[in-house]
């Protein structure tokens, strides 16, 4: 492999990391509050708003059931509005964020629903307000599960980011398609896949370790 190709792969890896990092940050910012809302707004819950809960739930489901590649194309006008362009690495961040946010919302919802209801009752009994219950009980108790969820989301986004290569998104996927597939360079294709595997492995290990550290339910050594 020529030095230029190695350089291209390094550059593409950084592009992928940048896309995924910014997209996951945006998606987390939107997804965590959405997940908390979904978990606490059902009938008889802390912020009971069953109708709103259903509407948000529907939007989340609709976004999640749209195939990613269709989503990318469908929201091009929005992408132009936000990123100023519809091709390139920056443009890819928009659909990536929008695809990941509802995914994270559902994972956070599950993590929060897993928190023992007795803790909520104890907090109510000590006079905590619903907001205090979320801040001081639900989120801290759900943090280990949320860390695992975010890991899952990052791994999925790495996969999605390879797909935005198909629409000129830049990054490893783009490199793989343009050099590996269109120019018949199997070694580039293989290198891209190897880098992706290493990335995913690394993210998963970091996530697992982090979640284990955060989880005080298991005795630490």
């Amino acid at each position: 492999m020529s030095p230029e190709i190695v350089w291209l792969i390094a550059e593409a890896t950084l592009d992928t990391l940048r896309m995924v990092a910014i997209a996951i940050a945006c998606a987390t910012l939107a997804g965590v509050p959405l997940g908390v809302f979904l978990a606490t707004s059902g009938r008889g819950e802390l912020f009971a708003a069953p109708l709103f809960n259903r509407i948000i739930g529907f939007v989340v489901n609709a976004t999640r059931s749209t195939p990613f590649i269709i989503l990318v194309v469908a929201i091009i006008p929005l992408t132009r509005l936000v990123a100023g362009t519809s091709i390139g690495t920056s443009a890819a961040i928009v659909p990536l964020s929008i695809a990941a946010a509802p995914f994270i919302a559902r994972l956070v919802e599950t993590a929060i629903r897993e928190v023992d209801h007795g803790l909520v009752e104890a907090a109510r009994a000590m006079g905590a307000s619903p907001l205090q219950i979320v801040r001081k009980v639900l989120l801290p108790e759900a943090i280990p599960a949320i860390a695992l969820s975010l890991t899952l989301a990052v791994v999925s986004l790495i996969g999605y980011s390879a797909m935005v290569g198909a629409v000129g998104g830049g990054g490893l996927g783009d490199l793989g398609i343009r050099y590996g597939y269109q120019r018949f360079m199997p070694d580039v294709m293989a290198a891209v896949v190897v880098v992706l595997i290493v990335l995913v492995q690394g993210v998963q290990s970091i996530g697992d370790t982090l979640s284990r550290r955060l989880n005080k339910r298991i005795r630490q050594r």
């Binding site: 104890a122 109510r124 000590m126 006079g127 001081k136 339910r217």
Partner: protein
């Protein structure tokens, strides 16, 4: 025969004034119907007073409504009828935001402790203070003495997962006391603990009651818990209070069948299975009358069977029994076999009744 020496010191009655700090007035609670089902009535016509500084126990089987009852006291549940008044405030009429302030003066402990796994012992005890907006320094000044009170100063930086059940409940108690409440609600606080740990937690609760003058309302399904620390008891059955009064009276003269079944083996009231099998309602040739003698108060220390033999020449054969202490007073039950001959039996019963024992013929055994 099973004679237990008292394992505990009599609970000194805290200075009691007659005013009720918690009062349930004609309380009714029904849960709305779920799809396809009928509304469920959890509590009906509950009248119950908890005197300031006392320990009151509510005993009932699961499903009797005791969890609902205790949750009415801090407004976690709203009654569908009647009033719940705590320290002069009608909690049953308060909206949720106002209830939050009231709840800070009512501590609560739970069967499964409900400690936050993500917080250390110290931070768990600090939580109610954080919720109340108390500053960091003041929190430290309050939490440390509480950890000392429950004997867990050395565990302050441990997470609940690193503590035993009894230690977790101690942290739960410290947490409940953090906001200096006037009332402590105990929801089956010892039901998940082994007998020894139960004893130590009950001792702790009794000493808190004594030293801090804290009123305790506890619910349980174990008579032994009531006997050890409560002064008054209410027996709950299918949403109604079927019997209530002083613990000693209820233990020694239970009126309701539910109460009797709760007392069962706890007080020597239950017969050994081999005897119970042979018990029949009719006199047969050669059979003896099985008589239950209940000793209340100071009579429990009299050698009554020996006296019966000496003064009337009637030999009583001891079958089963227990001498113990309830709410600090001696109390015993002896099940004895007496000669079934009419005149002898009548003479023996007469002798016992004269001495103010409760006597009951259970049946006849061969």
């Amino acid at each position: 025969m099973n004679i237990q020496t008292p394992l505990f010191k009599p609970t000194a009655l805290a200075a009691q004034t007659a005013d009720a700090i918690i009062r349930f007035e004609a309380v009714h609670k029904a849960f709305p119907a779920r799809q396809g089902g009928a509304a469920v009535t959890a509590l009906e016509q509950i009248d119950l007073d908890v005197d300031r500084g006392s320990i009151v126990g509510v005993i009932g089987r699961s499903g009797a409504g005791k969890s609902t009852l205790i949750r009415l006291a801090n407004g976690l549940e709203k009654p569908t009828g009647g009033r719940v008044i705590v320290d002069g405030v009608e909690v049953s009429a308060l909206p949720e935001p106002a209830l939050r302030d009231v709840r800070r003066s009512i501590g609560m402990i739970f069967q499964h402790f409900n400690l936050l796994s993500s917080r250390t012992a110290f931070d768990n005890v600090a939580l109610p203070l954080e919720v109340a907006g108390v500053g960091k320094a003041a929190i430290k000044a309050r939490v440390e003495p509480l950890l000392e009170l429950v004997g867990l100063t050395d565990k302050r930086d441990r997470y609940p997962a690193e503590l035993s059940g009894g230690q977790k409940q101690r942290i739960g108690i410290a947490r409940a006391l953090a906001t200096e409440p006037k009332v402590l609600l105990s929801d089956e606080a010892t039901s998940a603990l082994d007998p020894e740990t139960t004893q130590s937690i009950l001792d702790l609760l009794a000493s808190i009651n004594r030293e801090l003058g804290l009123t305790i309302l506890l619910i349980t399904h174990e008579m032994s818990v009531i006997r050890r620390i409560a002064q008054k008891v209410a027996v709950l059955e299918a949403g109604r209070v079927v019997e209530q009064g002083d613990v000693f009276d209820i233990f020694t003269r239970p009126a309701h069948a539910t109460t009797r079944s709760f007392l069962g083996s706890a007080t020597g009231r239950a017969l050994p299975p081999s005897v119970a099998r042979r018990l029949s309602a009719d006199v047969q040739p050669g059979s003896q009358a099985l008589v239950r003698i209940v000793f209340r108060g100071h009579f429990a220390s009299e050698p009554v069977l020996a006296q019966l033999s000496r003064e009337r020449g009637i030999e009583a054969n001891l079958v089963a029994g227990q001498i113990d202490e309830v709410a600090g007073k001696p109390f015993g039950i002896l099940n004895v076999a007496l000669p079934a001959a009419d005149a002898t039996l009548a003479s023996a019963l007469d002798y016992l009744r004269q001495r103010d024992f409760d006597v009951e013929i259970l049946g006849y055994v061969t």
